[in-house]
Every structure is written in C-alpha cells, then in structure tokens.
C-alpha cells in the first residue's frame, strides 16, 4: 500500500546480474560417486599416490557417514534431500590452458570473467591484486605469479601445488580440517577438484592482495574447491575470494574447504564476497553453499581475521573459525549475511581459545528481507589453559518487512575463570520513520533502504580491502532490490 513498501518490494525483485551461462566444451565425469570417480579425478590431475590414498580414505569415511547420520541436522535450514548420485563431480573446460600465457585461455572464459568485472589480463588488473580464477572444477588462470615468486610467495592453483610443492601440501592438507571433520568436509576431501594454494615464507609481507574468483558454469555439477593458505613466521597475507554462478532452476551443491595456518607472528586476512546465485524470488534454484572454513593460529602472536559478505546462495551453511593455540594469538570474525526472498543462512563462527592471553572478536550483522531466514550461530570456548583469554561478541540483526526471520544462537563455554567475555546483541527493524526521514531529504525509497543497511554493516565493511568494500556495498544494494515492502 505505502510506497515505502513498494520500493522495498521493487528493490527485492531485482534480477541476478551474474546469471549468464558460458557456452564451452567441457570435459566432465559421469554422474555419481564411487571409488572409480575418485580415481578418475585423481588420475585427471596426475596426482601422486598420497593424494589418491587420502581421497580414498575420505571417500570411505563419507560412505559410512552417508549410511548412518548423513548430513548434519542441527542447522536452522530446510531443503529437500540431496541426491549425491545425481551430481557430476568433475567438470573442466576442455581446452586446458597452459599457465604460461593468458592468450591460450579459451576466449569464452576470458569473456566470462570480463563480464563479471574480473579482468584477467595482467595489465588491466587492479593495481596490487593477483587473481586465481577457478572455472567449474579447475583453476584457469593465475595472474602475477612471477612478481609474487620474486618475493618468494607461492600462489597457484591447488592442482599445481600438488605437482610443484607436494611436501607443503602433504604437511598441511587436512591439518586444520581433517577429512573426518564433517559430512561436507569429508565429501570435499574425497572429490575436491581445485582451488588455490598460498605459501608466504618467513618474514615476507605479501606484496599484492591475493584473490580467487570462483565461477560455477556447468549444470548438474558440484563445485568442491579446496584452499590452503600458510603464513610462515612473521609473514602477512591478505586474500579475497569472490563467487558467482549462472541462473539455473536446479539447485547446485557447493561444498568447499578452506584451511589457514598462521605460525609465530604471522597474519592472515581472509575476505569473502559470496554472491552465488540465490535462486529466484519464489525460491526456485540457487546454490547450496555448505562450506567449512577454519584457521589455526599455531604460533605466538599470530592473527587470523575472517571477513565475509554473504549475499548469495539459496542456503548458506558456514562457520569460519579460529583455533587460537599460540599464546597471544588473535582471531577475528566480521560478517554481513543478507537473506532476501526465500534465502536461508545459518552462519557464524567458532573461537576456540587454547593458548594463554588469546583474544577474539566477533561482529555479526544479519539482514533479513522478503521471506529470508537468517541465523547467527556462534561458539566461544575458553579451554582450561587459556588464562587471560578475552572475547568480544557483537551480534546484530536487521529486519526489512515482516515476513522474514532473524535468529541467534550464541554458545559460550568457559573452563578458565580468568576469561573475560563481553556479549552485545540487538534486533531492529528498518523503521518507517528512518525511511521517511531519508526520503524527506530527497533519497528514493530503495536508496534510503540501502543507506540504512550500509550504515548497519559499516563496522564489517571497514575490514574489507578498499576496492572490495565499495563492491560489497553495491552488491548489498542490488541484493536488496525488491525488498522494500
């Protein structure tokens, strides 16, 4: 009735702009999951035996999980059963590029990344950002490798790392997220096809922002990427991932695993702008995003900081966490999760304080619009030995309209009496008075909504690298389109 309402509705009705399909010849595995498929994936990638062994162990474990409890059931999300035999676990563009030159990359793929606003040609790159582009299951281009190599930084696709740095992979793979960790992580361990690998050596401050763009293109496939980042003593690296997918009526599964390892005095800043296809306004289609992300602060004074802006996916199930083992280590989690239409997000973090004087900060901003359901689920655990541990948690929800939902489940476990915990939480609604105030100053209703939402998220956006903060703001506005109601 009111035009505030209409504007919110219009805003929410906006189309997904990254939903095109790239016509390309693909090399894909037949549907279904069995040992043969695992062997096929491993063989396609000419992997050493230890990799195949690890995958098979994971696969066998997954089979037992699939036969017993299946997927974890505790999250506040609802979806029809997933048929794991109806998915193809490997799809790759047929023309495999040599990584020597982008010229040999299929021009269709180059064009795709251009459309997405991700220039792969090095001269056109944002100054200081090296990009690894993962198209369906394989990494198709990694830029700026030479410049990084000069600094001693290894930044390449996971497949390449297995070939060129098998010792590092062997030492760290599964050391933070073991293949037994959870249903989806186990599945990923068995079938992961590619992802990014980063190693920053002792004392090196990575001279570029590193960035990976994940793109699902093929239909009826899953994307299972695996990322491993190691910051050696005193090293620093900032890494950003972005994700998009075409519009499809069918739901598609995305089950990634990210492992971070920070040694003494090392720092890893990991930022995500997740914009997988969210499904249409009636909730049809969209990506099921079941992701395990965990960082280990193994060294003294190490720091791992997660920043995420989650606007896409039909379902988001994701808890980037920190294991604070090293004394004085620091874990941070800054999150914006937006659910519009029929999107569901169950996301949060775990901060596990093991070492003395470890500190963690959690700032979560959930925005629900349309029929969206947004759940914050967080755990802060202070172990016996974590004398002097501190946690600060702030958890805010913003509701747009009255058909959406916001839920918070903070779990706190304290086994050391010296711990200091602070928790703040709020739930608010975009008020008619706020909208009217902004509109009285000349802003259109949808711009007024964006402004209020961006203000709400400011604390998190501040943590993003500059260029991406701007992108995230725009993305949020677009994702909200049609939500003024």
């Amino acid at each position: 009735m009111s035009s505030n309402t209409d504007a919110i509705r219009e805003l929410a009705q906006q189309d997904y702009k990254w939903g095109f399909v790239t016509p390309i010849d693909e090399d894909r595995a037949p549907k279904g999951l069995n040992e043969e498929i695992i062997r096929l994936i491993s063989a396609k990638k000419s992997e050493p035996d230890f990799m195949l062994e690890w995958r098979l162990q994971a696969y066998r474990h997954w089979e037992t999980l699939a036969k017993s409890d299946g997927e974890p059931k505790w999250a506040n999300i609802h979806y029809p059963p997933i048929d794991y035999q109806a998915i193809s676990y490997y799809s790759a563009p047929k023309k495999r590029p040599t990584l020597k030159s982008l010229d040999e990359l299929d021009p269709e793929i180059l064009r795709t990344y251009e459309k997405l606003g991700i220039p792969l040609a090095e001269q056109k790159l944002l100054a200081g950002v090296a990009v690894d582009a993962v198209f369906d299951s394989v990494s198709v281009a990694t830029t700026f490798q030479e410049k990084l190599a000069e600094a001693g930084v290894i930044f390449c696709s996971f497949s390449e790392a297995i070939q060129t740095h098998p010792d590092l992979v062997r030492k760290y793979l599964g050391s933070v997220v073991p293949y037994t960790d959870n249903f989806f992580a186990t599945l990923n361990s068995a079938v992961f096809s590619d992802g990014s690998f980063v190693y920053v050596p002792k004392g090196v401050r990575c001279p570029l922002e590193l960035s990976t763009y994940f793109r699902i293109n093929a239909a009826e496939t899953g994307q299972f990427e695996r990322t491993l980042i190691i910051a050696d003593q005193g090293a620093y690296v900032s890494y950003l991932e972005g994700c998009t997918a075409p519009i499809r009526d069918q739901n598609q599964l995305h089950a990634a695993v990210v492992e971070l390892i920070a040694l003494d005095d090392a720092q890893i800043k990991y930022s995500t702008v997740q914009n997988w296809y969210p499904g249409d306004k009636n909730g049809k289609g969209g990506i099921y995003n079941f992701v395990t992300k965990r960082g280990a602060c193994r060294g003294r004074n190490s720091k791992i900081s997660w920043t995420q802006v989650e606007t896409g996916s039909a379902i988001t199930w994701k808890y980037p966490s920190c294991i604070l083992q090293g004394e004085h280590s620091v874990g941070e989690f800054y999150s914006v999760a937006l659910t519009n239409h029929y999107q569901q997000a169950d996301t949060g973090t775990k901060m596990l304080h093991i070492g003395r004087n470890t500190r963690s900060t959690i700032v979560s901003k959930g925005i629900s619009a349309g029929h969206g359901q947004n759940t914050y689920r967080g755990q802060v655990a202070i172990m016996k030995g974590a004398t002097g541990a501190r946690n600060y948690t702030q958890c805010d929800s913003l509701l747009i309209g009255d058909q959406c939902g916001a839920h918070t489940f903070p779990y706190i476990e304290v086994k050391n009496s010296t711990a200091r915990m602070e928790h703040e939480a709020s739930t608010s609604k975009i008020g008619e008075d706020q909208l009217f105030y902004l509109r009285q100053r000349g802003l259109k209703a949808e711009d007024a909504v964006s402004m209020i939402v961006n203000g709400f998220c400011k604390r998190v956006f501040r943590e993003l690298p500059m260029e991406f903060a701007v992108e995230a703001q725009k993305l949020l506005s677009v994702s909200l389109e049609g939500s003024v109601g």
Partner: protein, 257 residues
C-alpha cells in the same frame, strides 16, 4: 500565484481525523508561524505536506509551486524544494553526517538534471554552513544524529536546511530543546536563509523564538483548523492569554458548521 496553497485539507491517521479543513497560503519571501495547543495537528500538517504516507488525505487540495503536492512522493516533494526540519530528528547509525548531506544534495541535483558534486567540491560549502550555525566540524564525521544531544539534533536539522536550500522550509518546533544561546544561533541561521525566493513556515509554542525570527504572519491551529490569523502581535497576545479563548471560539465555530 502563491508558493504554497492549502485548501480545505482533511487528513486522518489510524482512523482519527486530525486535520479538519486547513486553509493556508504562503508566498515566497514570507515567514509564517503556526502556533497551537499540543495535539492540535501542527506536526500532522507538517508531515502531510512532506508527504508522509501514514497520513490519509480525505479531502482538500495542496498546490506547491503550481504542482499538485498531494500527488508527490516524499522524495519528489523534497526534490521540488520542500524541506521539513523534524520535531524529532531520526538517527541513522553508521552513515556519516557529511556523506548523508552530500547524498541528499546529489539526489536533489540528479532529480533536477544537474551534475552531482563530489566530496572535495562539497566540503567548502559545508564548512561555511557549519560556521553559520556555530557547529563543531566533528559532527560531520559522526553518524547522522546518533548520540547527538537534543540541541545538536535541532541544529543539525537547520544545517541540512542551509545546505539543501529549499524553496519552502517547514520548521517543526526547532526551538524546543535549545538553550538560549543555541536558540539565538539557530534563529540567526534561519534568518540568514530568509530570501525573496524562499518561504519559511515556523511551528512553535513560544513567542521567544519569534522574537528572533520575526514572522510576517501568525496562524493559530486548534483542533485541526486554523482559527485565527494575524500579524506578529497575535503571538504576543497568545503568550498573554493562552489558547483558551481561541479554543472556545473554535468549538462554537465547529458546532455552527
């Protein structure tokens, strides 16, 4: 033709009729004041003119610069040059005052087909207006009205008016919550905005403000109708006698109608 012409305006909210036939005309260059007891409908009138959608118009007509004001959305009315200084300014956490002001200026410029101004070109003007209102520059980087004192909020409203340069400014009890020095500063700011091509409508309870912003006309709103109009001396008379006499007048005129 008047800048603003209100004819027999009736409005309700949640089924209650609040405005019961308001007639009023303002010309550019004029300052009018509306006074009246609590609950008489002053803020309602201001918000109806600013096109707040929670109010339902049941009868009447309003022309603003020749346009049918009641057909406009709030942002369109704003872009046409109507500004409302709120009785209760709203907080917008996380959005800096400076960014907010520039967004508003640019929204209006865009509506008028003008180029947007960037932050660098905008700042000098903003600083100048801050000075006019004796405001601390720090307020520019703070979130809009968040944790502002009552007086700072009111000043901030006038700052916005001074930056947006409307054709018609409606000030709803901008004097309430101001200490006497702030009142003078704000009045000075408003007076500096008086101009032949701008009209100002001041809603207030107190003669005190009108000592500083001397209106051309004073109107008394009682129970949703303007029951008396006159010059500045009417305000003085009200200060002495209160509304009681006028209210009984309104009641009898109401029963006669």
């Amino acid at each position: 033709m008047s800048l603003l012409e209100i004819k027999d305006l009736h409005a309700r909210v949640d089924g209650n009729e609040i405005l019961k036939g308001v007639n009023l005309a303002l010309d550019s260059g004029e300052v009018h004041s509306i006074m009246g007891p609590n609950g008489s409908g002053k803020s309602t009138l201001a918000q109806v003119l600013a096109r707040r959608e929670t109010y339902e118009i049941t009868a009447g007509q309003v022309l603003f610069a020749g346009k049918d004001l009641l057909a406009l959305k709030p942002e369109e009315a704003a872009c046409e040059g109507l500004f409302l200084a709120f009785q209760y300014p709203v907080e917008i956490p996380g959005i800096s005052n400076a960014y907010f002001l520039r967004s508003a200026v640019n929204a209006i410029r865009k509506y008028r087909g003008e180029d947007e101004v960037d932050a660098i070109d905008f700042l000098p003007k903003l600083r100048e207006r801050l000075k006019l209102l004796d405001m601390d520059e720090k307020l520019l980087n703070r979130s809009v009205n968040e944790a502002f004192s009552g007086g700072e909020k009111k000043r901030n409203e006038i700052l916005q008016m001074a930056v947006l340069e409307p054709r018609l400014a409606i000030l709803d009890e901008t004097d309430s919550g101001l200490d006497i020095d702030a009142l003078k500063v704000v009045a000075q700011g408003v007076n500096a905005m008086r101009s032949p091509d701008r009209a100002i409508l001041v809603v207030t309870h107190y003669q005190r403000l009108l000592d500083y912003i001397v209106p051309d006309y004073v109107h008394v709103l009682v129970d949703g109708r303007i029951v008396r109009s006159g010059g500045p001396e009417l305000a003085l008379q009200l200060e002495e006698q209160g509304y009681a006499a006028l209210e009984s007048a309104a009641a009898s005129s109401g029963s006669a109608a």
